[in-house]
Amino acid sequence: MSMNYKRDQRATALDQKAKEAYFTASQGQLIWARFKKQRAAMIAAVLLAAMVISGLFAPFLSPYDPTIAGRDKDYTNGAPQIPQFCDKNGCSMRPFIHAVERERSLATNFRWVTKINEDKRLYMQFFMKGDKYKLLGFIPGSVHLFGVDEGKIHLFGTDEDGQDIFSRTLHAVWTSLKVGSIGVFIAFVLALIIGGIAGYYGGWVDSVIQMITDAVRTVPAIPLFMAIAAFMPPELTAEARFFYISLLLGFINWPTLARRVRTHLLSERNQEYVLAAQLCGAPAGHVIRRHLLPSFTSYIIVDLVISFPYMVLSETALSFIGLGLKDPVSSLGVMLQKATSADVLLSYQWYFIPVIFFIVLVMSFVFVGDGLRDAADPY
């Protein structure tokens, strides 16, 4: 009897604790608890994290330098090489690929022809030294996760210059993440300033700003973007170009965000806590920053996550038509530039492997954004 009573007491105590944890939980904890329950969003979040990490450590994970410096001049337009454990000569514990030989003779009509030599194995090595790189831009290193003992391994094949598509893909994912982040950040700052002013002051200021925002929104963004990007001086370095493109993405994508900020502010600015702050003599900037913005931080984060894929896609589209990033930089658009030629479509379909990565990247952003939106909308 008493034991039962004790157990009950413990149960209620636990219950109490859980309730207390719920009521005292911060906004972030609540969102996380709700987010965890959504399976699709969680899977997407894991994928996204994997993408971010693989992008961050791309120089280490990829076997070769993604630029022309890391090219394999003996294996251009080469097919993907899949590591295997067994072949007709038996099995081995260590995965290997078959060596590729190039020959040009009377038999091949004097053209270079690559042939797989099934008797020669190239064994995979892990943590081997290779091309030099700078991890995160400043940590020098030359160890790569994998490679083969002699020759080169190309998991996704090579392009017409002999550049390793696997290495380029990893770097391209990172490029997209970088462009997207900078673009989102710039759009965000612009949206906060413009939407903040419109929403806080309301009245005719709001009307005028809305009119301009709407006009900007009516112009189709990509053609406009193309127009601006086309007139960038062609002699820019790759880094400067990269920066300009991110900047442009930010400048083009602010109106939607600004509108959201304004709507939130308009509904919040008549609340009592704002009035209280104003009566205490707080200046407008202070009220916006310290009182109004925190009231919808979670919404803004969701909006940022949702607008991210558009940045990535716009960058890809622009680079694809040759107005965005240019060759030494690896980006999906740059890599796909050559994919429209008949040669590629007919015989080198592995040029399209990176597309899968990008669809996964964009999809996981969309799913995470959706999950966050549902999680952040509690009341």
Binding site: M211, I212, D214, A215, V216, R217, T218, V219, P220, A221, I222, P223, L224, M226, A227, I228, A229, A230, F231, P233, P309, L313, T316, A317, F320, I321, G322, L323, L336, A339, T340, A342, L345, L346, Q349, F352, V355, F358, I359, V362, M363, V366, F367
Partner: protein, 334 residues
Amino acid sequence: MLQFGRFVVTRAIMALFTLVLVSLIVFTLMELVPGDCAERYLAFKNTQGSGISVEDIEVERQRLGLDRPFFERWGSWILGAFQGDFGDSCILRVNIAQLLGDKFWLSLAICLSALALAYLIAVPVGIIAAASNNAFLNNSLRLVSYLGLAMPNFLLALMIMLFSTIWFGETLTGLFSSEYRDAPWTWAKFLDLLSHAWLPIFILGWSATAFALQTVRALMSDEIGKLYVTAAAARGVHGRKLLWNYPARHALGPIVNSLGFDLNRIFNELPIVALILTLTDAGALLIEALARSNDQQLAGAIIFLLTASIVALNFATDILLAVLDPRVRKSIIR
């Protein structure tokens, strides 16, 4: 009736104002381009072998009226633009209206067909999906919508080309067969166009369909749970009649309103899809003007025309909405 007339006039003035504002943005961008038309034209001439001097450029500037102040030139540009005259192309030295010719109308027709296709699919499917509790249907629709977001049209176009070359050995590109390309418009040419245009229409409509599906479904699910629907059901209205006469009519407003933005989205993809499918329309001209010849006059004209069609569509949907929904009319004019 008078009230309705006033509503139309207000909307028309607002649309006109937006157009003027947009023209200012476009014109400013054209001006910001390093090097003006005179320099560009003469630089082009230089590559042909004849030398040019600073005086030549000055003379050319005066001839083109480039020495006048900014606002004066903007004024004359916008006045011309409203009459369909965009001046001469900087490099090709042809009148832009002539150069664009029916290419622009062709592009517009393709885009509008894509828009129509998107809504023809999205409205019924979205309504059915919102009304049914079928988990499989809802989940597959969700997946399609997400794919529409994640797979931009140009990637879709690339993929279709990839598979059509693998399986059919044909790339499905272009808008006309070679014998019709420069022929005058005839019925046969029109049929030939149709046999080629279905692919760009489908590709351009793809992501618009995905977006529209999501919008329709979300709006309908919101409306279906409301009390007036329950009340109607309690009065004995049921089935399709209940669905179409009650929640669908309420959801219609936002759907009609989103048409303009969907056209915007389709225009976004137009130049890139045109490039992949090697179409010979305004989208291709825009890429040509931007990526290859740096022709700001032509680029500005095309962007302005695209925006003008969006503004026109927005105006049309506003009027349509006011016809359909008296609440909208009254909210504008009190």
